[in-house]
């Protein structure tokens, strides 16, 4: 997989969280993920088609996404509900949109599908292409989240 496809998603994730949720986000070291177990409690998953086919997933720990959405709404959110699911879908959309803009400027044009959201402990995130799953952990003052990027070989 072309690693140049991954960096725009890291940049977009930082910018979306900082702009919409006013949070400082620190990216950790990317690693190869070998299982399907989500690294958190709620995931947004979105398919991409274009110069390569793939999926991205954004998985938040409960504490983290509650803090993110509380900041976005300006009011305290205390449970993982439909409002949180909707917000994770929109965050996934925004991350995809900004990353696709950056990729488009590199001549790599992608279209995005509508995101799906899964809530639950130990849920699975399954990517439908056979490429390596690159996971990037992020840290905030209110917990962690991870993005996964997977494009076909």
């Amino acid at each position: 997989m072309d690693v140049k496809l991954v960096n725009p998603f890291i940049d977009a994730t930082i910018n979306v969280l900082e702009t919409m949720a006013f949070m400082t986000v620190i990216a950790g070291e990317p690693y190869l993920k070998t299982d399907n177990v989500a690294k958190g409690d709620v995931s947004g998953i979105l398919g991409l088609t274009g110069v390569a086919n793939g999926t991205i997933a954004v998985t938040f720990e409960a504490k983290c996404i509650l803090a993110v959405v509380s900041n976005m709404f300006g009011e305290t959110m205390s449970e993982l509900n439909n409002e949180i699911a909707d917000a994770v879908g929109e965050l996934t959309n925004m991350i995809s949109g900004q990353a696709r803009r950056e990729l488009g400027e590199m001549g790599k044009v992608f279209k995005a599908a509508i995101p799906s959201v899964i809530i639950g402990k130990n849920h699975s995130v399954i990517h439908f292409t056979n490429g390596p799953k690159i996971a990037i952990p992020f840290n905030t003052d209110n917990g962690d989240f991870t993005i996964e990027v997977c494009f076909e070989r």
Binding site: N15, V16, T19, V69, F73, D86, G89, N93, M94
Partner: protein
């Protein structure tokens, strides 16, 4: 800015409608209605006096671009200012929206200041 105008917010994600409503309320706008897709937005448009439309691009049933084209093709509504707020910001998208008659364009993610600046330009 005239903050008494009636604004229609169109987005399939409740999150984005809520964020936009919060920002608009902070700016002093109180007369806000919302729709979760272009089809519902058109029904609201026909039934209520809307002064400004703020719409997402990617929506089921009728996209923001299709809504914009429909508004501009209608003699009654064609003069309504239309702000597109969207994650779709590749050059071709912007060109399409401008050709269809969009009043202005905000790219997600955005700040409250960005929305305020665009509204100032549209409504001055």
């Amino acid at each position: 800015m005239d903050t008494s105008i009636k604004i229609l917010i169109v987005d399939d994600f409740a999150t984005m409608r809520r964020i936009l409503k919060n920002i608009l309320k902070q700016l002093g706008f109180k007369n806000l209605v919302e729709a979760d897709d272009g089809t519902t937005a058109w029904e609201i448009l026909e039934g209520q006096g809307i002064d400004l439309i703020i719409s997402d691009w990617n929506m089921p049933k009728m996209t923001g671009l299709e809504l914009l084209k429909k508004v501009r093709a209608n003699d009654t509504y064609k003069g309504i200012p239309f702000l597109m707020v969207t994650a779709e910001a590749q050059k071709q998208n912007v060109i399409e929206a401008v050709q269809a008659g969009v009043s202005n364009y905000v790219v997600k993610p955005f700040t409250a200041e960005a929305i305020s600046d665009k509204l100032e330009k549209i409504l001055r």
